[in-house]
Symmetry: C2
Amino acid sequence: MQSTGFFRPSEQAIIRIRRALAFFALVVIGAMGMRLSGWAARPGEELFVQGVPGKLAACASCHGPHGEGGGQGAYPRIAGQPAAYLEAQLKAFRDGGRSNPLMSPMVAALSDEDIAAVAAFLEREHPPFAAAPNADQSRLTRGQSLVALGRWDLGVPACTSCHGSALQGVAPAIPALAGQSSQYLSTQLYAYKSGERPAGPLALMGRIAHGMSSEDIGHAALYIASLPSGASPQIPRPAAPEAYIAKAQAPDTFVPPPEAAIPDGPYGELVRLGQSIFEDTPKYGAPYAGNTLSCRNCHLDRGRDPKSSPMWAAYVHYPEYRKKDGLVNTIQMRIQGCFRYSQNGTVPEADSRELTALVTYFYWMASGLPVGVKPRAAGYPKLDAPKEPPSPERGAKVYASSCAMCHGEDGLGRSGGAQQVFPPLWGPQSFNWGAGMHQVDRAAGFIKTSMPFGAGGTLTDQQAWDVAAYVNSRPRPPDPRFTESIEKTRELYHADHEYDYYGREVDGLVLGAPGPVEGRGKGR
Amino acid sequence: MQSTGFFRPSEQAIIRIRRALAFFALVVIGAMGMRLSGWAARPGEELFVQGVPGKLAACASCHGPHGEGGGQGAYPRIAGQPAAYLEAQLKAFRDGGRSNPLMSPMVAALSDEDIAAVAAFLEREHPPFAAAPNADQSRLTRGQSLVALGRWDLGVPACTSCHGSALQGVAPAIPALAGQSSQYLSTQLYAYKSGERPAGPLALMGRIAHGMSSEDIGHAALYIASLPSGASPQIPRPAAPEAYIAKAQAPDTFVPPPEAAIPDGPYGELVRLGQSIFEDTPKYGAPYAGNTLSCRNCHLDRGRDPKSSPMWAAYVHYPEYRKKDGLVNTIQMRIQGCFRYSQNGTVPEADSRELTALVTYFYWMASGLPVGVKPRAAGYPKLDAPKEPPSPERGAKVYASSCAMCHGEDGLGRSGGAQQVFPPLWGPQSFNWGAGMHQVDRAAGFIKTSMPFGAGGTLTDQQAWDVAAYVNSRPRPPDPRFTESIEKTRELYHADHEYDYYGREVDGLVLGAPGPVEGRGKGR
């Protein structure tokens, strides 16, 4: 049956009446909540708590006196959210980008200044979380897996990848999930999934919710709501590991063993340590970490994603001769290269516990993959040559619209609390001029298939080439192989690649020249 | 048709007449060869060159003035052969163990002393080799492969394994092949194959020739005859490597890539270096070698043989937790263990060129084998528990009859020239008390399936247990993990195995006690 909504004016009338009633109720509740004591006027606070006659908003009536949420979870927690996120949502409600029978009329009369004031007030509020409701443990565990690991086969990254390791949100655009009720979270995911709520920046949440089943949504929402204040979702560890027997698999349809198959005991512990180092190199690989990047930043889904040089594919084609150092590289030597260049760090000894843990993690991931048969997934996808030579100028525009939200206009990445959530793409905390990713072709292949994170494949090939050229024509830490001069170093190590900005002059600066690299962080 | 030889006296008569004629001819030739100058009588020389009337032998008539062989290759080179081998052959001709129409009557009248004198004289003669006849290069290459590598799938070990790296022979029982004509070599191999020549000690040559086709025999004989004096057969290296594409294989029917598939370039070179270290550890792994053993001594067919802990099987199941050191071992760490214990040597750094070469060789051998799926061939075969507890006393007898020919009555192995051909099983140049092979069960499994070399499977299970007990109740270098006392060390590292002689008293000596280990060589 086709919808015949166009011929039912009576329904629309009903909605209007409902909205009016709700509005009236809220105004009454708001008025009852007014404090009689004088205001120690913080900007936005009065508007938030009391509302202002003629402007009407009295947010605290529903969202709680400190924005902690209310109505048994019907009204979301809005305290501690990035101000820019709140502003964007309030303007969307006001201007029609989002529609909600309660919110839209409530904010209709607010000026941009009012909105900015409320948002700025709320960003600094940190009321305690409500106690989590009881929930079935098996549903929580399944939710935990989604939140901490995602389901890349369905295009669902871990929630923590963007919302931060404690789901604390990342200014400016990414809201905190921590402290939200499961009811609110699942409602929003459904709204994203159905298209009722706009898909969000770069349509990311629309895509992600689309990949989630109703069960997934329910489990993830329950789990997030169960977290106490400040808790980080951890990778779930089953009471007893899944019985898993590695079997031979074809290289081009390979699927690594499931997370739950990591066994107990010293071997499994080392696999887990390797996974932790891969996931948070500055923390777990601290003695060797030279910047705030982690292995997973370039090898998505913690090295499992077949589109971003998966570690299972690497494991089976080393030892291999590498022109880069003129040596046959063991897998250990290959990883040492990542520490030296991509990590701009200190090379771990071949038999250090950290390097052994990484090798063991890769080995475990490769279970069932034939030795010495290079899977098609090995390395990064190769793009066809660009139609137009890559242009940093065009790339800057792509960057501004598609990358800056997460990586920052300054390319320095973004943090949630102390933790680096989105990696720096240039500047002192990024990979150095020796890393593979500084080559424009390599970066373009990666960007095309994997960026924006969670929305890979949405840029055109030319856009990927251009933005790769932009990113790789910015300053970054020096090439550790520096010999004699920039010219000599370029000749020795950078002459092979058509698009390699090392030693070129951009904006009056010779790229790769010694000296401190601008931006936050120590530089090396 | 059945043989009816019993009813053909006329044939036997013909043979007798032929022998008599041949004998007569030889005496005439021998007399013509007599020197008129006086003898600087070296024992056996006169008999060899002139013959002695009434005793009749005048070996030089056919075998050349210095035993270099003659008759266009019809008469073998007998110079430089181990005296004991020559004695055994001469006695066999005399007493009927071997039969030859020329040789048998020639030596019929020789006493044991005559034979010993001729043999001792010949052992010290080293006349130059005859020039090798021209031969087709492709046949030589195929022969080279057989001689230097063998064909283990057909039960044919490399000729060099027993006859020495330059085929120089190994006293007492194993003749030199170097300098023989292709005609003689192929005749003997056919004779072994048909049973016309007795199968030799432990029936080894009978078995080996049985595995060789007529073509194999022809190629091997041609190649050996082509070698100049002192040359060692090298592993053949094809002009262009065989086009080989590694494909996934099932773990339990795995076949490593063929030798000819080792590619050119730095990767192939490292594979070859690994292979060389594996084959001759004291030479190619010199900085780390602590005794005269090589990896191939315990891992036959250069680590390929599925019955003696093949290296391809090992490669795919490391990293793995090992109770021995309480650590997850990478393949590098596992190999380091071999250097520490089996090699009684110095542990190579995890990223040393030698260790990397071995890992690369193993990786290459494992091409197509799935990661993390332990092949049934991994490790050494396990024997059922022995019916009788293993007895070193019974084992000593098995050893004397089945092992001493190659490994020596003193267990110290045997050399051909400077090179260790058969490995020492105890004493200062053997594996130490920390090596896996010192465990009687491990050794018994290996011995049962792989020993005597080239005749695996011929001992009973009980014999294998007994001889393993005998070998492993002899003195050997100390356990490098020695802590406090023999008792303490036994408690820490030797308590788990039912049959482990460490710390036990045998023949009045406490095994494992510090102090020099008797036998040749330095000890450690």
